[in-house]
Amino acid sequence: MTEPRNPSMSSIPQTGPAHTDSSSPAVEMDPVEYTLRKRLPRKLPKRRNDVYVNMKTDFRAQLARCQKLLEGGGHREICVHGLGLAINRAINIALQLQASSQGALQLAANTSTVELVDDLEPEDPDEAGEPMTRTRNNSAIHIKVFYPDPQ
């Protein structure tokens, strides 16, 4: 999660020795290069029947884990969560579970917005850059996969 990359603001073709930028107030932009570090998302509830889908684990392994919870684990409902790119995979898992249950399972999906925090750390500690944080939003999905109560 810590791939360093250059924010777009860093690629300013302003050359010259460091520490001169403070004397030129006309230039609002910041010549200091930053490393972008993405923090992990906020801690979310983790019960036995919560499954957080990611893009690193093999798809079939995550699907098998859900199947195990519903069949062997004795849970009548599980909750599949996906954030950002993993939304697609979470939906896919939920739909696969439903299809393989021959219609016994139902889905109830909710969506939400998750606030994420990025840290901007100056590349060169000698330059006058301050560490900064930046927040952004990402979409998330929460799918309840459950056996409906017999009525």
Binding site: M1, E3, P4, R5, N6, S10, S11, I12, P13, Q14, T15, G16, P17, A18, E33, T35, L44, P45, C79, G84, L85, I87, N88, I91, N92, A94, L95, A99, Q106, L107, A108, A109, N110, T111, S112, T113, E123, D124, N137, S139, A140, I141, H142, I143, K144
Partner: protein
Amino acid sequence: MCPVYQSQACNNAGQPGGVNNVSRPVKPAPLPVPPPALKLGQEGFKKVCRTEEDSPCPFPGLASGVLEMRVKEGSKIRNLMGFAMARMQGEKGVSGVNVSGGGLRQVVFTGSGRAVTKTITCAEIMKRKVGCLHQLTKLRYKVVKEVWESTEGGTSEMTVHRTVPSISILLSKDPLDPQEPGYQPPETLSALWEEREGTEPATASKRSLGPLPYTSFPDCKRVCLGEGVSVLPPH
């Protein structure tokens, strides 16, 4: 995750001091995005057409003319939202008439495949901007028919049927049936988690409301009939 970025960072670190280097604007080369699980492109085929097969509306009982925003992979969120927000808030100034006093009552966002995330984002933005919207989310597989043509001979043609996950989100100013799976009451942005941590009394109280007799629907139908057309927004 992104090896391209990583290798670039290494190059940067290797440069001496970072002073007076020819600061080539470090733009990452356009990332080649390989289409997942599709190798046809490399075998001399190109996609000439992609059609989604018609599937019934996931929201039975919905007015037929409701505004449907079809979100595609390349759709710009600002285009989609500019259009949809104007319709939901009522177009003031268009021929001097404020249409039905406050815009449409309902909107549906649909998207499939790689547009699913964008679809959710649109719905989330609208919920935040409009406020007090009831939401119903439906998931299903959609069959997409793709026609691939050989780039060499031009004679052979292939038709591929693929199933892609798709999402449909109904946002409504009027109350919806809370018992319907996938229902979300207004302003659940933060309450979503607290409700779940407590053991079920929240859902029990929701159940006690009973099936909602859709009292407000005739009214909304009247609004939608004059207004709603399924519109493909500009890309």
